[in-house]
Symmetry: C2
Subunit: 137 residues, 2 copies
DNA sequence: TATCTATATCGGAATTATTCTTATTTAAGA
DNA sequence: TCTTAAATAAGAATAATTCCGATATAGATA
């Protein structure tokens, strides 16, 4: 996924082009790290002083639904980043301070592949979500 | 971890014994699934009609710090469950409706070990948290 | 057992993230 | 250019969580 692909997808799906949508996407495309709605708002405030939270939330939720952004949450806050579409299956090391990510090409749970030296691991989450038989699909 | 071990740990660490703490722990020990603060409050309301949210939050945070509960979050809500201390390394399938968990003994990312038939997987999260070199430990 | 004190709890206010509502604006097609 | 459905702004509403001041109490001590 890159900026142009994302804009194409929006058009293809019938959504309107707006300067704000482009700018939100441009920010995510430029900073390949997890960011919150507030982060985005603050980055855009200089250019769009009137920008409302609603616009940010509405759009990033839309982008996540369309597969443009990936979503996670920690510290009680939802965070988003531009979708990683590398060919190989991978996962992320996520910095809890700046949201920056690093790729892991293998599953680190069996052997942890010589821990990266430039990242201090404090925890991990490996969870699979869905519905049990009692709760139905 | 079981109820008695948890109560022992509290005493050992110098925390006071209260009926509410015991009851919170009893509930988690009895229901091996993820539950929110509200879930706990509602289960305890009949017995303790005056129970405040503050008490629930304060205690489950404490229990999580002490390693009695494990914590995660989805749908914008923090959820807790009694710590799984099985000998083998494992992870969870988590039902997004009831919070019930099932164990996975292997890393499901390489081959997914014959998907369980009684669980509909809708997504997963495999993330490792910590601090990058720029943000320090 | 009675007293003391740090801790725990209550009740409600404050905070923070997110969603909703209504009026207004605007992108894009006719 | 005109029209209209979609997008936005502004602020209210909601919901999870934390904070705060006053009161209650577990557990230590006399």
């Amino acid at each position: 996924m890159n900026l142009d692909q994302a804009l194409d997808l929006l058009k293809r799906e019938g959504y309107k082009f707006t300067g704000k949508r482009e700018e939100i996407l441009r920010i995510f495309a430029g900073e390949k790290r997890y960011m919150s709605a507030k982060d985005i708002l603050e980055l855009m405030k200089p250019e769009y002083p009137q920008l409302s939270f609603d616009t940010i939330y509405r759009n990033i939720s839309l982008f996540a639904e369309l597969g443009i952004l990936e979503e996670t949450e920690w510290d009680g806050e939802r965070k988003y980043r531009f979708l990683c579409n590398e060919v190989h299956h991978h996962h992320h090391l996520i910095c809890l301070t700046c949201g920056k990510t690093m790729h892991l090409r293998a599953c680190p749970l069996d052997g942890l592949l010589g821990d990266p030296t430039d990242f201090t691991i404090t925890g991990h989450k490996f969870e699979i979500y869905g519905y049990c038989s009692a709760c139905g699909a």
